[in-house]
Subunit: 214 residues, 2 copies
DNA sequence: CTTATACCCGACTATTCATTCTGTCAAATA
DNA sequence: TATTTGACAGAATGAATAGTCGGGTATAAG
């Protein structure tokens, strides 16, 4: 009872999480207040206090010093920033990892890694339908398998036997939900019985570096 | 000539990078000023301006809105936050990744991933010499192969034929450099000809989540 | 020689930002 | 019913933070 999170507290936690994900730093009270849709920052103060008490969030004394704690990630169903990499190694014996030079042999005292989790994988994307989201023909993307999706996220969708990466949009007027290509050349894709969202595209490989998808 | 970074600019860039890594949010001008070892924040203003011009850094108008850009990571020789995961999949065919349920078969239009880079690997740690750094007996840690190291980083070191994970300390008084176990039960380890630093411990697996090592 | 650039000092200003206080209201709880 | 809890309003306050102005010095470039 006491440890459970309320819907409103979860709202704020997600607002903070999403803000950090997209901007790279935490929001101000004012920004949180606006996203919550209230006019007094007292709401933010109260909710933050609860999130702190319940160990979902850590807050420093300075400006914009917010850190989502592991418990917070768990309740949101999101992996911490550095988390998903474990998944990509799932089922992959460490011997398969090529280490350069003197690391051909592993140091003694260490053993093989095991399966960590199976909710993330990497795919190569073909086509130009997402160029405005920074995903170009041939790029590698990192996909996290999920159940819940939020409007604006780039998702991997299954349409019948075909698979595609598009931006997922959910709005309060028709057509309510659809898939939006990030290229004006292409049309929106409506949902049918055959449309199924599989995962969220977290990251894209650019010039040898993984970058966030927005 | 014009695009090159100066030592002082690189100092600040690293200060910002390290701060975000360890704290989770960007520093204030005051904190940067202090770390730079100067008494006027005008220095910070000037250096930040240069880092912005050279596209190593992005800066918003609000408080503490700093983001290290890909060019910045490159010049520091650091992977972006989400980067290293690619490495763990190096040489690991995507078929080896076990996907649950209907993802036993991969969607058409996607191919195997190739080797991405070989500078990161995962090891299991035995012993209690780093418990105060949050690394317990049997934990998995993520190691990034590096050449340069900074005082305070947790490193994987090779001591003769043996390998060990300890905190690397470099100070301006004897013994200058040594390895520090994070457990009072153990003694510091001096450097010898046989001591060699191999990589930096970036992350540790805790309750199913990867967490930063401090 | 002259100019520009990198780096820094010191003080000052403007404003963002967090905090605090007093209260309201509805829903949950005892 | 009485009490507590969650959520929010409105306003006032003060500290934290960024930004500005006017210099200085040393080094490199033209």
């Amino acid at each position: 009872m006491k440890k459970q999170i309320t819907p409103r507290q979860k709202d704020l936690l997600r607002i903070i999480y999403n803000f950090i994900q997209s901007d790279g730093f935490p929001p101000t009270f004012e920004q949180m207040r606006e996203k919550l849709g209230v006019v007094s920052n007292q709401s933010v103060v109260d909710l933050l206090e609860k999130l702190k008490q319940k160990r979902f969030l850590k807050k420093g004394t300075g400006a914009r010093e917010l850190v989502v704690l592991p418990l917070g990630y768990q309740i949101l169903g999101e992996p911490p920033l550095a988390a998903f990499l474990g998944a990509t190694a799932a089922g992959c014996p460490i011997e398969a990892v090529e280490i350069s030079g003197e690391w051909q042999t592993l140091p003694s005292g260490f053993e093989k890694i095991e399966k960590l989790n199976d909710e993330v994988f990497i795919l190569r994307i073909y086509g130009d339908s997402m160029i405005n989201a920074g995903i170009d023909d041939g790029d590698l993307v990192l996909v996290q398998v999920k159940e819940e999706f939020y409007s604006g996220e780039v998702v991997l969708a299954k349409v019948g036997d075909d698979s595609t990466v598009k931006r997922f949009i959910s709005q309060d007027k028709p057509p309510y939900i659809f898939l939006k290509p990030e290229n004006p050349k292409y049309q929106h894709i409506s949902f049918t019985d055959e449309t199924k969202l599989v995962g969220k595209v977290i990251s894209v490989l650019k010039n040898g570096y993984w970058q966030q998808v927005k």
